[in-house]
Symmetry: C2
Subunit: 359 residues, 2 copies
C-alpha cells in the first residue's frame, strides 16, 4: 500500500520570535491562519487514505500537531525524542511501515515550503509512486525545475528518460550546493534540477540500502520498529547524518543495490525560510507593506509588521522602510530586512544575556 510521511522537524530560528524551541517554523500559523504542516497535509490528503498519512517530527510538538491535524490517527505521529537529521526521519518510518506492511511504498515529503500549484505536486507524487511500484530496486527523488541559478540548493544531474513514465529519468549525479558560476551553467544547460529532498521508495528497498550503507542505523530502526518502547533509549544512538549523504549520493555512485530515478516536480516552491521570504507571501498595501494585526503604518513602505502581542496592542510605525517588526506577548523584534539573516545570531545573544526563556 501507499503511505505518505510528512517530515516536519527543525526549529526555524530565522522566524524568531514567532518560531521558538517549542514552536518550529512548520507549525506556525504563518500565512492566512494556516501552517506549513497543515498545507503539506492538505497537499497529500486524498492521494492515500488518512490512515496512511504519517508525520515525523519532534516528540515535543505532538500536541500542536494533533491540534492542527485532527484527522491524523495518534499512532501515525512519529515523535523523535531528539533530532537526528534526515536519514532517520526516513529510515525510522520505513522500518515501522515495513514491519506492518512488507509491500509498503512510502513517499517522504517535507513541510518546509509553500508549493504551487498543488495539482502539479500531486501528479508528480502519483508518477513517483508508479515508478517505485513498477521498478524492483529504485529510489525515486524529485527534481524541481530551476528558475534561477540558486546557490542554496543541491542539484541533480539527470540522464536518460525511464520508458513508460511521464517525466522520470535516471540520475547521473548528486551535486552539492554549487558556486554561482556553476549554478549558472546548470541553469543554462537544462539537465540539472534542484534536489527537492523529497522521495518515494518501497520501504524494503530503502532498508536494504540502509543495511548495506549505514548498518548501525539499520539495526536500531529495525529494533525500534519491533520494540517501540525502546524509543527514548535507542533513538539518541542513531548517527546524525543526512539521507543525501548517507544513501542517495553513494547509491548514485553505484554503491548499494538500487538505482536512482528522478521525477520532475514542475512547481514553484517557497522556502519561507525567513521574514523577507514570508513577506512575499502576504498581501501588501499600496506602499508595499505586509501587515498582520492591529497596526498603523504611517509614512512606512515595504515593511513587514506581524503584531501578535495581544488583541488590543497597537504597533505604530513612522518613516520606516524595509523594516521587520514582529511582536508576540513576550518579545518585540525590530530589524531591517537586510539584517534578517542575522536573527540566529541575535537569538544567540538573547539566550546568552537573558537565558532560554525567549528562545
Amino acid at each position: 500500500m501507499r503511505y505518505v510521511v510528512i517530515m516536519a522537524g527543525g526549529s526555524g530560528t530565522r522566524l524568531w520570535p514567532l518560531s521558538r524551541q517549542g514552536m518550529p517554523k512548520q507549525l506556525l500559523e504563518l500565512v492566512g491562519g494556516t501552517s506549513l504542516l497543515r498545507m503539506a497535509y492538505e497537499r497529500v490528503a486524498g492521494l492515500v487514505p488518512a490512515g496512511q498519512i504519517l508525520v515525523c517530527t519532534g516528540a515535543g510538538y505532538a500536541d500542536v500537531v494533533a491540534e492542527q491535524l485532527p484527522e491524523l490517527p495518534p499512532e501515525n505521529l512519529l515523535g523523535e525524542p531528539v533530532g537526528r537529521d534526515s536519514l532517520n526521519a526516513v529510515a525510522w518510518p520505513a522500518a515501522v511501515l515495513a514491519a506492518k506492511d512488507p509491500d509498503a511504498v512510502v513517499a517522504q515529503v517535507s513541510a518546509d515550503q509553500i508549493i504551487e500549484p498543488v495539482d502539479a505536486f500531486r501528479a508528480a507524487l502519483v508518477e513517483a509512486f508508479e515508478v517505485a511500484e513498477t521498478s524492483e530496486e529504485v529510489l525515486v527523488t524529485f527534481g524541481v525545475l530551476p528558475t534561477s541559478p540558486h546557490t542554496g540548493y543541491g542539484y541533480l544531474h539527470r540522464g536518460e528518460p525511464v520508458p513508460g513514465h511521464n517525466s522520470a529519468c535516471a540520475v547521473l549525479e548528486f551535486k552539492e550546493k554549487p558556486d554561482r558560476a556553476t549554478a549558472e551553467e546548470y541553469l543554462a544547460g537544462g539537465d540539472h534540477w534542484w534536489n527537492s529532498g523529497m522521495f518515494v521508495w518501497r520501504a524494503a528497498v530503502l532498508l536494504r540500502q540502509l543495511e548495506e550503507l549505514v548498518p548501525e542505523s539499520y539495526e536500531i530502526v529495525t529494533e525500534l520498529a519491533a520494540a517501540p518502547a525502546k524509543l527514548a533509549g535507542l533513538y539518541p544512538k542513531l548517527p546524525k547524518i543526512s539521507v543525501d549523504y548517507a544513501i542517495m549520493e553513494p547509491v548514485s555512485q553505484g554503491r548499494g543495490t538500487a538505482h536512482i530515478v528522478a521525477v520532475a516536480l514542475p512547481i514553484r516552491w517557497y522556502d519561507v525560510g525567513g521574514f523577507p521570504a514570508l513577506a512575499e507571501h502576504l498581501a501588501t498595501d499600496d506602499a508595499g507593506n505586509a501587515i498582520e494585526g492591529r497596526t498603523v503604518a504611517h509614512q512606512t513602505a515595504n515593511s513587514l509588521v506581524i503584531n501578535r502581542a495581544g488583541a488590543d496592542h497597537l504597533v505604530a510605525t513612522l518613516g520606516c522602510e524595509d523594516m521587520i517588526i514582529v511582536t508576540t506577548p513576550d518579545v518585540t523584534l525590530v530589524c531591517p530586512m537586510a539584517a534578517a539573516e542575522q536573527i540566529k545570531s541575535l537569538v544567540g545573544e538573547v539566550t546568552e544575556r537573558v537565558g532560554t526563556a525567549y528562545s
Copy 2:
C-alpha cells in the same frame, strides 16, 4: 511673601506613546525615574516654604501631580478645567495669590525643561525676586545666554544694566522666533538672550497690566479668585492668548504701567521636546544606544529603546541604527530618529484609524 508657581500644562504629543492626553510630558518619568515636574519642584524647594509653592496644570492631572509631589498642599494645585494658553496660567495664580496676600511676589517657572546647573537657576531666581521687590512697577523675565543661533526660541534685546543687582538689565524689545541669519547676528552681537518664558513679579503689578491690556481676562480671574466655585463655568471664557503677546511685548513697547527687566539665567536647558532630545539625557552603551527596560540590542547603534511593555517583555533589535523603539503595554512605536518630528502626524492617523483609545 514669595511664591513660586510651576506651570505644567501641555500634552506633549512628540513623546507619544509615553505621553498621552492623560499623561503630558512634564508628568512622565523620563530620566532616572523622575519627571520634569518633580525636577522643577526640586529646583525651587527650599527657596520658599512648601506651602508657597503652587502648580498650575490641567485639572485632569491632579492625581498624578499629587502622587509625584506629596509635599504639595492640595489647595496649591490650580487645575485648569481647559487649557487657555500661558496668559491665564500666570494671571489666575496672580489673582488667587493677590487675594490672600496683597504683597505676594510670584515666580512663574516652567516644568518643560531639564536645567543645569540647578544652583545657577536658584541664584537667578533669588536675584529676580529681589529686583521685583525693590522696584515699584517691574515685570522680571529671564534671559538664557544663547549657545547657538537657535531659531526655535524667542529672543530678548537687552539694554542698560539695572544698578544694584548682579545681572539685571532693561529689556529693549521682545523678538519673535528669528530666521537663521538674524539668529546668527543675535548670537554674534552678544546683547540678545533667549526668552525663557519664566517670570517674577508682584502679583499686584501683573494684575495692573492685565487690567489695562486684557480687561476681559482681568475681570474673570479676579472673579475666580473671589469665587473658586465658578471655575468650571468661567475658565472656558478666558481668551486663549500667550503672556508674551498679551503682556510682555506691549509693556516693552511702553503700554501698561510697568517696565521690564531681564535677569540672566546662566544655565543650559534641555527641552526634552522629543525622543532625540530625550536620548541625549540618558546613559548610553558603547554603541551609543540609550536603553531602558529589558532589551537586547544586537548589532545596533545610536538607537533609543524604551521598553515599558511589561516586566517580562523583551525588546530585541538587530541591525538597527538611529532608531527609536518605544513600547508601552498597549502601544509599540518604531521610527527612525530622523522621522521623530512627524510623531504628531502619526498620532493623528492613529486617532483617525483606530480611535482615541491610544492618543
